[in-house]
Amino acid sequence: MSVQLKTGRNELFTDPDPDNARAFFRTKSRELKSKISNAEEVVRTMLKDGDYIGIGGFGANRIPTAILHEIVRQKKKNLALAGHTATHDFQILVGGECIDRCDVAYIIGLEARGLSPNARRAVQSGKIKLTEWTNASLSWRLKAAAMGLSFMPTRNILGTTTFEYSAAKEIECPFTGKKFAALPALYPDFAAIHVHECDIFGNARVYGASVSDQDLAKASKRVVLTTERLITNDEIRQNPESTFIPFWCVDAVIEVPYGSYPGNMPYEYFSDEAYIKEWLAAEKDPEEFKKFMDKQIYGTKDFYEYLELNGGIKKIQKLRAQELLIDTEIGGKK
């Protein structure tokens, strides 16, 4: 096949050059030192207006809510987002009017829960610049970066309008002559990932589906972990095969128990579906939604106040029973 090779027409929001990325990584600390911080400090010092960000987990599963809220509270502007099955995380950031560019795989929807009216309005208004991708494409763009490359050859998105509005390029395989998509490496400026356990150095463990978080942690220039609980470095060293993210990827560590609320945290607590429904309902009317955001995010000092506002530990107990399929009725249901 010696055909004309195509190029996606939309904007590439990040620099895929691996030597530029290496120049940054060369300066990144590899010290085994304490990285304990808090959300206010992290968002103030580690994230600039205009930065490109990636969010761990999967929309409303294992998400770093404390960081997402703090980005809104601090009114960060003109951020770009890797919209890799972005659901509740996208909702929060669009609610705060924080983003103006997005690499889209999946946005404005909340899977089986329906669509976000506010996010949809924002996207349809043209206020957010979109480049189209897919879930695998964003995964592989992060993997290319995690591997220190500038692109990854793949066999998806070819032939579609998705390709046309992406920033990918077609290439020919030097061995078979077959056509591949070349997906540009994605090196985010900043990533926030919620994990089950980590030590003060940032050696972290994650349980359940890991989505793309291992590659996200490696590909990103600055990384903050929020964690359900801190563990000792001794514990990390007892099972070195369980380390999901190593310390050198991590710049800050924050202990945030129940930190994925209102999202699901595998083996810990289920998502608060009633709350998410309430949020979706509030979004229907812009005035209502403003009040809702004021109360939930701008009006709360931090994640602890926010959690308390929404039922605190008692609520978490219920969600925990739901997650573990434990019947907590007195005497059982039957």
């Binding site: 099955t85 999946y106 189209e132 695998a136 993997k143 998806n156 032939g159 589906a209 579906e273």
Partner: protein, 256 residues
């Protein structure tokens, strides 16, 4: 004949296509219900995968998200998105199910937008998610959808996920893996496949209560017809019972 609604019909018919020992990547909703029904009827060994990383869970209930804890409840593996997608790309995944707002005669699907200006769409949908990837990389893509002539369109406003593209050999020439593509489109009215040569959509079987005319009238492009058009075998009692009692007892899906 048992009484059933069109969602029940589509799920029961779709489930029959999933043979024992096959692999399938599903999303939430009807596709997941379909895979669960197949597992509980003729395919106990069907391996169900979710794109966030869950593999072969013992599903305690219908997931809300393809990444929630149910998708890896007592699973064989709780892996990652690249792991699942690479397994598809390597040719180890047989089936997937997609949805969409528009589909054309070559099985190309739109789940991105309506309108002609990408930067200011008339209506914006979520976008591909994993749909393009699964449509590109799994062996056989299926769709369950109510049929009308707006959805079955002569031209998608946006091709999110590839069917046979412009038909003929164009899918493989675009670089997509050899031998992959749309397999069955299951609507309330009929079951469609695709012509071997032209890759155009072809009616194989008509569902109870519908006519040839209904099927063509509710389609925005000209359908091909198999030499012998079957009458769709309607849902069996045991399929409906298992679907209603075990798969979706709260009627989240079949109550829609």
């Amino acid at each position: 004949m048992a009484d059933f609604n069109s969602m029940e019909l589509m799920i029961c018919i779709a489930a029959r296509n999933l043979e024992d020992g096959a692999t399938v990547v599903v999303g939430t909703g009807a596709p997941c219900a379909t895979a669960m029904l197949a597992q509980k009827t003729h395919s106990p060994n069907l391996c169900i995968m979710f794109e966030a990383g869950g593999v072969a869970p013992l599903l305690p209930s219908m997931p809300i998200s393809v990444g929630d804890s149910r998708t890896f409840h007592k699973a064989i593996m709780a892996s990652s998105m690249p792991e699942i997608m690479e397994t598809c790309q390597r040719g180890m995944v047989d089936y997937t199910f997609l949805g969409g707002a528009q589909i054309d005669m070559y099985g190309n699907i739109n789940s991105t937008m309506i309108g002609d200006d990408h930067s200011k769409p008339k209506v914006r949908f979520p976008g591909s998610g994993g749909a393009n990837d699964l449509a590109s990389l799994c062996w056989r893509t299926m769709m369950m959808t109510p049929q009308d002539s707006k959805r079955f369109t002569s031209k998608c406003d946006f091709i999110t996920s590839p069917g046979y593209l412009q038909g003929g050999n164009s899918r493989y020439e675009a670089g997509l893996p050899l031998g992959t593509g749309p397999y069955r489109i299951i609507t309330n009215m009929a079951i469609m496949g695709f012509d071997e040569e032209s890759k155009r959509m072809k009616v194989l079987s008509i569902n109870p209560g519908y006519s040839r005319k209904d099927v063509q009238d509710n389609c925005g492009f000209e359908l091909l017809w198999a030499d012998k058009i079957e009458n769709t075998d309607p849902p069996h009692e045991n399929e409906l019972r298992i679907l209603r009692e075990e798969v979706d007892p709260f009627r989240y899906i079949i109550g829609r």
